[in-house]
Amino acid sequence: MNGLPQAVLVRRGTYHDSVTLMRVSRALSELPGVHAAMVAMATELNVSILREMGFGVPEADPGDLVIAVRARDTDAAVEEADRQLTAAPRPEENSGEQPPLTTRSAAARGPADLVLVSTPGEYAFFEALDAVEAGLNVMIFSDGVTVERERLLKERAEARDVLVMGPDCGTAVIAGAGLGFANVLTPGPVGVVAASGTGAQQVTCLLDRAGTGVSHVLGVGGRDLSAEVGGLSARRALRMLDDDPGTELIVLISKPPAPEVARAIEALPLRTPVVRALLGPGAPDLTEAAEQALRALGRSVPEWPSWPAWRGGRATPHRIRGLYAGGTLSVEAAAVAGAGEFTDFGDDAYTRGRAHPMIDPALRVEALGRAAETDVVLMDVVLGHGADPDPAASLAHPIARSPATVVLALIGTEGDPQDLHRQAGAFREAGAAVFLSNAQAARHARSLL
C-alpha cells in the first residue's frame, strides 16, 4: 500500500469509548506524514474496516484496543496516539480511589438522581437495569436495545417509580441541565415530552428564540408510543410535568402513537394543557407546533430568523438532496419539500462503529462532495451540548466548494456554546441559505426548483 510503513498494535484489555477514539483517530490522521490512522476497539466491524484499509490485524477481541497507522514514522505516530489516549480523561486517573466499574457501584457511592447511559447498545441494558434497581431515573442515549428489553426496563421502572428516557433518547433537559444533545435554554413555562430528540431541539430552540423558556425536556425514545411499549415513559413523563409547578404548558412531540396508546394518554387526568405535535403526513410541522405553544400561552409569534444566501444565480436545480443528521428533521423536511432524496445519517445503519453525524461530519462531507450542480442540498446543523464544537469548521468549506445550492437548517440557541450567530455567518459566507426553522428551510429549498 503506497510504500509507507505501517504498524498495527493491540493493547489488550484497554478500553476507550468510540467518541474518544474517533477524536484520537482524527487527530492522528491530520498529522503530517500520516497517510492513514485508526484507533478503535477490536470489534468485528472495526476489524473489517481496518482490513479494508489494508491493515493486517492480529487476533484480538472486542475488549482490546487496536492502534493502526500508515505513516513515514510509525513510531512517532503510535507515540502520539498513546499520548492522546492518556490525555483523554479516564475516571480512574482522577485519584487513587477505585473508580466505579458499574452503574450499580456508582449508585452505591452517594446520592444521585439520574443515570446517563451511552455505552454501546448491546450493553446499555445492563447499566440501565442497575439504575432502575437502584431507584434512579435513567436516560439511555444508546440505541440498539431490543424492544423486549425496553419494555422490561420500563415495566420495572413503573414498579420503582422512576422514569426511563430512551433507548435512543438523544436529548433531555432537566431543570436547565442539558443531557446528551441539548441546547442551552432559558428556564420557563413550557415542558416537553418527546419521542424525538431533534424534534424537541427544533421546538425548544424556536421557543427560546421567541423568548419563551422551557422547564424540562423529557425524552422517551422513538418506540415508546408504539403498541409494544405502550407509552409507559410518555405517560409517566406527562404526569411528572403535570405535577411540576414550573410547567404551565406541555408540548408532546411524537409520531402518531398506536391507537391504544393514544387512548391511554387521552385518559390521563392532566390539569396542564397539552399541545400535541404528532409528526406525520398532514400534521402540523415542528415550527407550527412551536407557534401553537406560543399562542396557547398568549404570546406572540415572531418572525423566525433566516440568513439568505449571498451567492446565487447558479443553474436552476432539479432535485432536492436531503443530507440530515437528525432523523425527525429529515422526515419533516421530506414531508414539507414534497419530493427529493433524503438520507438520515444519524440512522443506526450509518452510526454502527462510528460517532453520530452531529459529532463526526465525515459522511456528510463526502456526500456534499458528490452533489451535482443541479441539486439543492438541504441539510441540518444542530448546535448545543454534546454536538460538534464548531460544525462550520468542517462543513463550511465543503459547502463553499460544492457546485450545488445549499439550504441549511441551523438548530440552536443564542446561548449555545458554538455561537449561533458566528455559525450562521460562516455558513452564509460559504454560500448557504440559513434558517432557524427546518420547515422554512425545506419550503425555501422547494421554492428553488
Partner: protein, 284 residues
C-alpha cells in the same frame, strides 16, 4: 493583578451555570468590574452598571448559591480584593479565566398551588428561629405586626429602619427583609392572595429605593433579588416545604446553617412573611 484588554486571548476558557438573575448584566455590553470580596469557595464581583444585580457571586460547588451566582465548573483561581475583571457580552473575564455560561437556572422557581391550611402548620414550625441576629428587636416586631395587620405605613417605616442594620456583608436587617420579601412574593402568588403581593410591592420599592447607599453592595444586590422573589435554594426549599412539596423540617435546618446568622435571619423573615400571608389571605 491588572488585566489588560489584550490579555483575553491568553485566558483559559471555562464554563459554568448562572442564575437567570444575572442574565441582563451578562448579556449587556462589557463593563469593568472588581473583586469586592474573595473566599476559598467564591468571589463577589461588583460591576459598574445601573442594572441589578450589580454584584455577581462567582462560586464553586461548595459555596451557597446566592440568587446572583455563577457556578464555576472548574476550581476558582487565586484572587484578591481589588482585582479587576470585566463582565458582559456573555462572558466574565476574571483573573486567568474567561467564563461563559452553559446552563441557566431560575432563582425564583414557581411553587405551584398552596393550600392555605398549610400556613398554620408552617407558622408553628417557623416560630423563634434559633440564633436570629435581631431577635427581640423592636423594628422587627413592628415589621411583623404591621405586616400581619396589613398596615402599610407601619411596615414601610419598620423596613426603612432595618435596611443595613447589623454587621457583616449581609446585615441581619437586610436578611430579615429579604426572607420576608421572597415569602410574600411566592406564598402570595401560590395562595392566589392579592394583599400579600400588594404589600410585597410596596416593601420592595421601599428597600430597593436607596439600598445602594444604605447597606453593603452585596446586600443591596440581594435585596433587589429578593424584591423579585429571587433567593438561594435553601430559602426556596423552605417555601417548598411550606407548600408541601418537600419535607419542611430538614429544609429549615439547612437554612439555619447558612452563614453566621444569615440563615436564622432569613428564616425570621420567612416566618414574618408566613404570618402575614396567613392573616392577609384570610386563612386565619
Amino acid at each position: 493583578m491588572t488585566v489588560s484588554t489584550h490579555a483575553r486571548r491568553t485566558r483559559a476558557h471555562v464554563s459554568g451555570a448562572a442564575s437567570t438573575a444575572v442574565r441582563p448584566v451578562l448579556e449587556s455590553q462589557r463593563r469593568p468590574a472588581r473583586v469586592l470580596a474573595a473566599f476559598p469557595a467564591g468571589v463577589y464581583l461588583e460591576v459598574r452598571t445601573d442594572l441589578e444585580p450589580s454584584v455577581i457571586a462567582v462560586i464553586t460547588g461548595d459555596a451557597t448559591r446566592l440568587p446572583n451566582s455563577v457556578l464555576l465548573s472548574t476550581p476558582l483561581p487565586q484572587l484578591t480584593v481589588g482585582d479587576e475583571a470585566t463582565v458582559g457580552d456573555r462572558t466574565i473575564d476574571l483573573g486567568p479565566l474567561s467564563l461563559s455560561v452553559r446552563r441557566w437556572w431560575d432563582p425564583a422557581p414557581p411553587l405551584g398551588r398552596l393550600d392555605p391550611a398549610r400556613l398554620a402548620e408552617a407558622e408553628a414550625a417557623l416560630a423563634d428561629p434559633p440564633g436570629a441576629g435581631l431577635a427581640g428587636d423592636e423594628a422587627v416586631e413592628q415589621l411583623a405586626d404591621s405586616c400581619a395587620r396589613g398596615w402599610l405605613l407601619g411596615a414601610v417605616t419598620a423596613a426603612e429602619r432595618l435596611v443595613g442594620l447589623g454587621p457583616g456583608l449581609t446585615p441581619s436587617g437586610d436578611d430579615v427583609l429579604a426572607g420576608l420579601l421572597v415569602t410574600l412574593r411566592h406564598l402570595g402568588r401560590a395562595a392566589r392572595a392579592e394583599r400579600p403581593q400588594w404589600l410585597a410591592g410596596w416593601l420592595a420599592a421601599t428597600v430597593t429605593f436607596d439600598a445602594r447607599t444604605r447597606t453593603t453592595p452585596l446586600s443591596a444586590t440581594l435585596l433587589h433579588c429578593a424584591a423579585r422573589g429571587e433567593a438561594s435554594p435553601e430559602v426556596i426549599a423552605v417555601l417548598r416545604g411550606i407548600a408541601g412539596r418537600q419535607a419542611l423540617e430538614p429544609a429549615l435546618r439547612r437554612l439555619h446553617r447558612l452563614g453566621h446568622t444569615s440563615g436564622a435571619d432569613l428564616a425570621q423573615g420567612v416566618a414574618i412573611g408566613v404570618r402575614a400571608v396567613r392573616s392577609l389571605s384570610g386563612a386565619r
